[in-house]
């Protein structure tokens, strides 16, 4: 399996390490590399868009002419800034910030406020079938976005105070996964979920 991590900026090394560790735990062979060019997106089974600054990452992808090919990768997983880039719409965005426009979600950037409002807490995440026991993980929210609304085809994986903080979507043979927090800083469970989803096609 070939996984790429968008490599310009942010928690790139952390995602590479978490993906390798998740693959090891699942006993699957997986090559993980950072991607900074359109050519690097060829033959990827999955692309991870890390945490960082969504405005910076979008501009660098656009300047590199990578956006179209990113949309064609069979599976994408975004955390924090990455989740913003996956969304179809940004809530209250005056500057007209652009995204990949793949997931049927509306996100609000910096929805909790500045860094002094950042927090971590344990979160229950539903990674198995709907009736299975959720798993508890430490979730780290740093200048985090909120998912304001989601379409019917979006599966909610975790809520916090009634707000969606992690979700997935299957569409047209592709799979998308978004988290408002940073699993790459605390756990491999969501990376394992992403790899399992890829294996099951």
């Amino acid at each position: 399996m070939e996984i790429g991590v968008l490599g310009f900026q942010g928690s790139v090394a952390e995602h590479i390490a978490a993906t390798k560790e998740a693959a090891r735990k699942l006993g699957i062979s997986c090559r993980v590399s950072d991607v900074r060019t359109s050519a690097g997106l060829e033959r990827l089974d999955g692309l991870i868009i890390p945490g960082g600054e969504s405005t910076t990452m979008y501009k660098l992808c656009e300047r590199e002419g990578m956006l179209e090919r990113m949309r064609e990768v069979p599976a994408l997983f975004g955390t924090c800034a990455g989740a913003i880039l996956l969304a179809k719409k940004i809530h209250n965005e005056e500057e007209g910030q652009k995204t990949l426009g793949l997931m049927d979600i509306v996100v609000e950037r910096n929805a909790y406020g500045t860094q002094t409002e950042s927090f971590e807490e344990n979160l229950e995440v539903q990674l198995g079938p709907p009736d299975s026991e959720p798993v508890t993980m430490s979730a780290i929210f740093i200048r985090a976005p909120k998912i304001r609304s989601a379409g019917e085809n979006v599966t909610v994986l975790a809520n916090r105070g009634g707000e969606i903080v992690a979700c997935g979507q299957r569409e047209g043979g592709r799979f998308y996964l978004a988290a408002c927090f940073h699993p790459e800083l605390s756990t491999t469970l969501i990376h394992e979920h992403f790899l399992r989803r890829l294996l099951s096609g």
């Binding site: 900026q9 928690s11 501009k59 910096n110 406020g113 500045t114 002094t116 800083l185």
Partner: protein, 289 residues
């Protein structure tokens, strides 16, 4: 219950800035130029270091109105500087909701002996360092991020390169040493010496700063192993700030690809004039060891 103010959250924001360029700005227009160029954060200032150097006198924290103006102009993180040891300026900046505080030698130090005890703050701090001992002392005090001091406001990269190489070499030399002896020599905890030795790098994110004026300067620092760069006077003291800001962002994003660094360096107009080290009246990097 959500936990705030943890070291994971503080160093976590620094991790999200890796691979990025943080730009000094002095008003809303400059902040918007920086964001549009692709900066990952801005440093809100009343004057860039070159102007602080030229003006002389005591340099202090910016007017809160200046910081609010810049916070209102952009969606990326906003940093601001306090004087070394001036914990009340730091309290004020935290109250203003800045995302990161730079306890900076660019401003005139307020305390001849002590830096701010950074652990008691919710907001994370970045501090400058010339060598490993300074870097580890700052981390021990609670800094969530380190940057080279370089020599701010000169447009001369030589001191930043000196500091980056010194820290790299001193980390390399840790392997053979006794952590207890080194901890005593550095005036830091034994734990942080052992941690740095086993990681083979600083235990927090490490940026370059001080004298970066061109895309190639920025890529040079990246190839020397830093996680990202601060650009102070280098952008808004140049002839065409918007072009130069974008060029530096592109060069950092593709720092290992000389063809792309070449393209990022094309047609940027005059860089800032720059100063030779021997011509300096004040060495800012000697402040706050």
């Amino acid at each position: 219950m959500p936990a705030k103010s943890t070291s994971t959250l503080k160093s976590g924001l620094a991790q999200m800035l890796k691979g990025g360029v943080i730009m000094d700005v002095t008003n809303a227009d400059q902040a918007r130029i920086a964001e549009k160029a692709g900066a990952v954060a801005v440093m809100a200032l009343e004057r860039v270091p070159a102007d602080i150097r030229a003006a002389g006198g005591v340099a202090r924290m910016a007017d809160p109105l200046k910081i609010k103006e810049i916070q209102g102009a952009v969606t990326i993180p906003v940093m601001a500087k306090c004087r070394i040891g001036h914990f009340v300026e730091a309290q004020v900046l935290e109250a203003l909701g800045v995302d990161f505080i730079d306890e900076s030698e660019v401003l005139t130090p307020a305390d001849p002996h002590f830096h701010v005890q950074k652990k008691s703050f919710t907001v994370p701090f970045v501090c400058g360092a010339r060598n490993l001992a300074e870097a580890l002392r700052r981390i021990d005090e609670g800094a969530a991020m380190i940057r080279s001091k370089g020599e701010a406001g000169t447009g001369n990269i030589v001191e930043a390169v000196r500091h980056i190489r010194t820290i790299n070499n001193e980390i390399g030399a840790l392997a053979g040493g006794d952590p207890r002896t080194l901890a005593k020599e550095f005036r830091v905890s034994e734990g942080i010496v052992a941690q740095t030795a086993s990681l083979g790098r600083l235990p927090v994110v490490n940026f370059a700063a001080g004298g970066i004026a061109t895309p190639a300067d920025a890529a040079l620092c990246m190839q020397l192993g830093v996680d990202g760069v601060f650009v102070g006077s280098g952008i808004f003291k140049s002839a065409e700030p918007a072009k130069r800001a974008k060029g530096i962002v592109d060069a950092v994003a593709h720092f290992n690809d000389p063809k792309k660094v070449a393209r990022a360096s094309e047609g940027l107009g005059e860089p800032m004039r720059g100063l030779e080290m021997s011509a300096l009246e004040t060495k800012m990097s000697e402040r706050g060891a």
